[in-house]
């Protein structure tokens, strides 16, 4: 009996491993920046380039840094949710306008609405590189001490918001 059960058990283990492997999205690369301090930067604000923004100003607050661009199609999918979050006022959202043109970005916000407290212009993607950005959208939840606690690669879905980001933000705000 065991003669037949052992290969069957091995096969079942293999199937489980392959099923997990196939279910994973290879484009979601775990970030080494989780639980590390958010890299510092100082960038011009999109709306008013004379003003600048630095994450250091956000000490003491739990906030979301959302990487977006006007050329990014998935950002459009994510946009209604961001607007909803901005209206609810649970977590302030700051934008990092990534590899974009200023006028395109402003046009995009005028057309679709602006969920961001402000957006910083990362036109040459230098800051994006420091954050390990390799596409848009990407979002970082940063805690009071300026530590990255969660990274969402790709659009934030209502599911991810409800089950991961919102509970974590509430816990960090406690």
């Amino acid at each position: 009996m065991t003669r037949y059960l052992i290969p069957l058990a091995l096969f079942a283990v293999l199937v489980v491993f392959l099923a997990i492997g196939l279910g994973r999205n290879p484009h979601e690369v775990p970030s080494p920046l989780i639980d590390k301090p958010a890299p510092a930067f100082n960038l011009a604000q999109l709306a008013d380039p004379a003003k600048s923004f630095s994450p250091a100003e956000m000490r003491g607050k739990v906030w979301l840094l959302n990487v977006w661009a006007s050329w990014c199609i998935s950002c459009r999918d994510e946009h209604p949710l961001l607007l909803q979050v901005a209206r609810s006022g649970t977590v302030p959202i700051y934008g990092l306008n990534y590899r974009d043109k200023r006028e395109d970005a402003l046009g995009w916000l005028a057309e679709l609405g602006d969920p961001y407290v402000l957006s910083a212009s990362d036109l040459d993607a230098r800051v994006g590189m420091d954050y390990g950005v390799y596409g848009a959208p990407e979002s970082y939840l940063i805690d009071r001490n300026g530590v990255i606690r969660f990274k969402q690669i790709g659009p934030i879905t209502p599911d991810v918001w409800e089950k991961k980001i919102l509970p974590l933000a509430k816990e960090l705000n406690r």
Binding site: V29, S31, P32, L33, D124, A125, M129, D130, G135
Partner: protein, 179 residues
């Protein structure tokens, strides 16, 4: 009229000249320092482009890959070693960008798994063969069996080998010999 044509074509030529100068300046980093460029390309071949994951940083034409190559070039110009450059990239993008994963507790299974399987297989094979040998027991023939066997063997020796066996085997050998 002709004068105007002449001036326009002259201006056009000037513009063309300026354009070619601009192009020449664009290509300069390559000619600038071939040794540095070789280092940049060597390291880029070890790194994965995250946008198009099955391409190396050296092969990829994605914006991110271009930026990262420029970043690597810049750092090398500032005297950073290959290890420092790789540390810079992995600090941002993780070990996933390395085509040669580092040996760490999390990658032990990846590195040593095949050897564990190999040795496990060898041990299994050894034990299996030994068990098979133990299963074969020498069973001496009973006197009756021995007599029967001798009878059969003796009978075989007395009977002349049938003709067709010989000829058929000859027929098989012959064509080969001719070749």
């Amino acid at each position: 009229m002709q004068l105007r044509l002449l001036t326009t074509s002259f201006l056009f030529l000037v513009a063309l000249g300026a354009a070619s100068v601009a192009v020449a300046r664009d290509a300069q980093p390559l000619a600038d320092d071939p040794k540095l460029e070789e280092r940049v390309m060597n390291i880029s071949r070890e790194l994965r482009c995250l946008v198009c994951q099955n391409e190396t940083l050296a092969d990829s034409r994605a914006d991110l890959a271009v930026d990262l190559r420029n970043q690597i070039r810049e750092q090398m110009k500032n005297g950073k070693s290959d290890e420092e450059v790789i540390a810079f990239v992995t600090a941002r993008y993780g070990d996933f960008v390395l085509y040669r994963p580092p040996v760490r507790p999390t990658t032990y299974l990846l590195w040593f798994g095949p050897f564990i399987l190999l040795f496990g297989g060898l041990i299994f094979l050894f034990r299996y063969v030994r068990r098979r040998r133990e299963l074969i027991v020498d069973a001496p023939l009973t006197p009756g069996e021995r007599r029967r066997a001798e009878e059969l063997l003796g009978a075989g020796r007395n009977v002349p080998r049938p003709e067709f066996h010989v000829s058929s085997s000859d027929a098989q050998v012959e064509p080969l010999n001719r070749d």
